[in-house]
C-alpha cells in the first residue's frame, strides 16, 4: 500500500463490479423514488385544488410533516419501525425482496413528494386566473382546461425548483446506506474496508456523484430551454 493509485481499485475486477452494482442500485432507488414522488405530488396537488374541503389541511399536514422531520429519521422510522409492525406475511415477502431498497424508495419518495407538490403548487398558482376563465369560455371542461391550459404552464413555471429538488433527491439517495441498502455510498464504504485505499475510493465515489448530479442538472437545463426558449435566453 503505497502512494496514490486509482488502478488499484478500478483495475480490480471485484471492486469494479461492486462499484457498478452500487451505481445500478443508486439509480434504481433514484428512479423509483422519483416516480413515486412525482405521482404522489400530482395526487396531492389534485387533492389540494379539488373542492373537497378537507383536502387542503390534509395536504398541508402531509407537507409539514415531511418538510420538518429529517429524511434520515423518516427512513429509520420506516425501516426500523413500520417494517416491524407489518403482518408477517408482507414482512417476510419484503425481507426476501431487498427490503432495504424498497423502504429507501418509499421513505425518500414520500418525503420528496412533499417538496415536488409544493413546487407544482406554486407553479400552478403563478398561472393567472384569466387562463382558466379563457379556457372555460372556449368550451373546455374543468378537467380538460387543467390538462391542456393550466398544467402545461404550471409545470413550466415549476421547472427550476423541480430540477433543484430532483438533484437533491439524487444526493439524498445516499442516505439509504443508513438502513443498509447496497447503493453507491455503501459500495464505497465496502471497498474502503477491503482495500484500505481510503483517499482513492472516496475520490472515485465523489467524482461519480458529482458527474451524475451535473448530468441531471444539464438534462434539467435542456428541458427548461425546450419548454421556454425565450425565458432561458434571458436568464
Amino acid at each position: 500500500m503505497s502512494g496514490f493509485d486509482l488502478s488499484a481499485i478500478l483495475g480490480n475486477p471485484e471492486y469494479a463490479a461492486m462499484l457498478l452494482h452500487g451505481i445500478e442500485m443508486t439509480f434504481i432507488i433514484y428512479a423509483g423514488s422519483w416516480l413515486l414522488a412525482m405521482t404522489l405530488a400530482l395526487m396531492l396537488l389534485g387533492l389540494r385544488l379539488s373542492p373537497f374541503r378537507f383536502g387542503d389541511p390534509l395536504v398541508a399536514a402531509y407537507v409539514s410533516y415531511h418538510r420538518n422531520v429529517p429524511t434520515l429519521v423518516q427512513l429509520m422510522l420506516w425501516y426500523f419501525g413500520i417494517f416491524t409492525l407489518m403482518p408477517s406475511g408482507i414482512a417476510n415477502w419484503l425481507a426476501s425482496h431487498n427490503a432495504e431498497s424498497i423502504f429507501a424508495v418509499i421513505g425518500l419518495g414520500l418525503c420528496q413528494a412533499a417538496y415536488f407538490s409544493e413546487d407544482l403548487r406554486s407553479g400552478v398558482r403563478s398561472v393567472s386566473d384569466g387562463q382558466m376563465q379563457a379556457a372555460r369560455a372556449l368550451g373546455h371542461g374543468y378537467v380538460s382546461a387543467m390538462r391542456f391550459v393550466i398544467m402545461p404552464q404550471g409545470v413550466r413555471n415549476a421547472l427550476p425548483p423541480l430540477i433543484n429538488h430532483s438533484v437533491s433527491l439524487f444526493k439524498n439517495s445516499s442516505l439509504a446506506i443508513i438502513i443498509g441498502a447496497s447503493e453507491l455510498t455503501h459500495a464505497v464504504k465496502e471497498i474502503e474496508n477491503l482495500s484500505f485505499r481510503t483517499f482513492e475510493i472516496y475520490l472515485i465515489g465523489t467524482v461519480l456523484y458529482l458527474f451524475f448530479s451535473l448530468v441531471i442538472m444539464s438534462i434539467g437545463a435542456y428541458l427548461s430551454m425546450r419548454a421556454d426558449p425565450a425565458r432561458s435566453a434571458r436568464a
Binding site: 409539514s64 410533516y65 418538510r67 420538518n68 422531520v69 429529517p70 429524511t71 434520515l72 429519521v73 423518516q74 429509520m76 422510522l77 426500523f80 419501525g81 413500520i82 416491524t84 409492525l85 438533484v167 444526493k171 439524498n172 439517495s173 445516499s174 442516505l175 446506506i177 443508513i178 455510498t185 464505497v188 464504504k189 481510503t198 483517499f199 472516496y202 465515489g205 465523489t206 456523484y209 458529482l210 448530479s213 451535473l214 442538472m217
Partner: protein, 252 residues
C-alpha cells in the same frame, strides 16, 4: 401504543435530553441544539464572505469559491462527512472528536448553500445602491457594511431561516460517524429496549418536528411581515432615524 411512548419518555428522558453526561460526553437533544446553533453561528459570517468573494471582480477570489459552491451542490452531504471523517484527523494529526468533524463539514456545506442566498439578496438590490453609497464617500467595505448587507440580509431573512431549518435537520447525519446527538441517543434507547422500535423512532420524529416546525413557523411569519412592509402597510421608523441593522434586530 401511546402508553408505551409515554413510558419510554419517562424512563429515558435524561438520556434523550443530555446523553451519557456527566458520566460520558454530552449528547442527546442538548448536543443536537448546540451543534445546530454553532454551525449556524459559524456558517452565517462565512457565507457572507463567500457571497462577497463570488461577486468580487478578482478572479482569484471568485473562482475558488465558485468551484466550492458547485462542488458542494453536486455531492451528497454524507459523502463530505465521510471525507472529513478521514481527512480532518490526517490534516490536524490529532484525534479529533466526531462532533468537531461534523461541525466543520456542516459549516463548509451550509456556507456554500447560504452564500447563494446572500448573493441573490445582494444581486436583487441592484447596482444603484452601491453606486449611491460610493458617491456618498463610503469605501467598498463601508458601503457593504452599512448600505448593501443590511438591506440584502433583511430581504433574505425567510430564506436564511429555512436554511437554518435544513442545517438543524442535517445534524442527524452525524449518526454515521457516531456524533452523540439526539438520533444517536434514540438508537441507543432502541438498542436497550429492542421491542419497540416504532415507538422510539416516532418519538424521535415528533421531537424533530417540533423543533423544525417552530423555526419554519417564525420564518413564515417574518416573510409575511416583510412582504407587508415592502408594500408599505406596516409603520416602521424611517431609515434616517434607525439604521437598517437595528430594524433587523427589532424584527427578530
Amino acid at each position: 401504543m401511546i402508553q408505551d411512548m409515554i413510558a419510554i419518555v419517562r424512563d429515558y428522558w435524561l438520556l434523550l435530553l443530555i446523553g451519557q453526561y456527566p458520566n460520558g460526553p454530552l449528547g442527546g437533544l442538548a448536543n443536537t441544539l448546540i451543534l445546530s446553533a454553532l454551525s449556524i453561528a459559524l456558517a452565517f459570517p462565512v457565507s457572507i464572505l463567500f457571497a462577497m468573494a463570488r461577486l468580487s471582480k478578482s478572479p482569484l477570489l471568485r473562482w475558488p469559491v465558485t468551484a466550492l459552491v458547485y462542488f458542494t451542490r453536486g455531492v451528497p452531504l454524507l459523502m463530505l462527512i465521510l471525507w472529513s471523517y478521514f481527512l480532518v484527523p490526517l490534516l490536524t494529526g490529532a484525534d479529533v472528536p466526531s462532533f468537531v468533524t461534523m461541525l466543520t463539514t456542516l459549516v463548509v456545506y451550509q456556507s456554500a448553500f447560504l452564500s447563494e442566498v446572500v448573493r441573490a439578496g445582494i444581486v436583487a438590490l441592484g447596482p444603484g445602491q452601491m453606486d449611491a453609497a460610493r458617491a456618498l464617500g463610503h469605501g467598498y467595505i463601508g458601503a457593504m457594511r452599512y448600505i448593501i448587507l443590511p438591506q440584502a440580509l433583511y430581504n433574505m431573512i425567510p430564506s436564511i431561516l429555512s436554511t437554518f431549518v435544513s442545517m438543524t435537520k442535517d445534524t442527524t447525519l452525524g449518526y454515521v460517524i457516531n456524533v452523540p446527538d439526539l438520533t444517536f441517543a434514540a438508537s441507543q434507547v432502541n438498542n436497550q429496549l429492542l421491542t419497540q422500535p416504532f415507538q422510539v423512532f416516532l418519538i424521535l420524529a415528533i421531537v424533530y418536528f417540533i423543533i423544525c416546525w417552530t423555526l419554519t413557523y417564525f420564518a413564515n411569519r417574518l416573510e409575511r411581515r416583510i412582504t407587508r412592509r415592502r408594500a408599505g402597510l406596516l409603520n416602521v421608523p424611517t431609515a434616517s432615524l434607525v439604521t437598517p441593522s437595528k430594524i433587523v434586530s427589532e424584527q427578530l
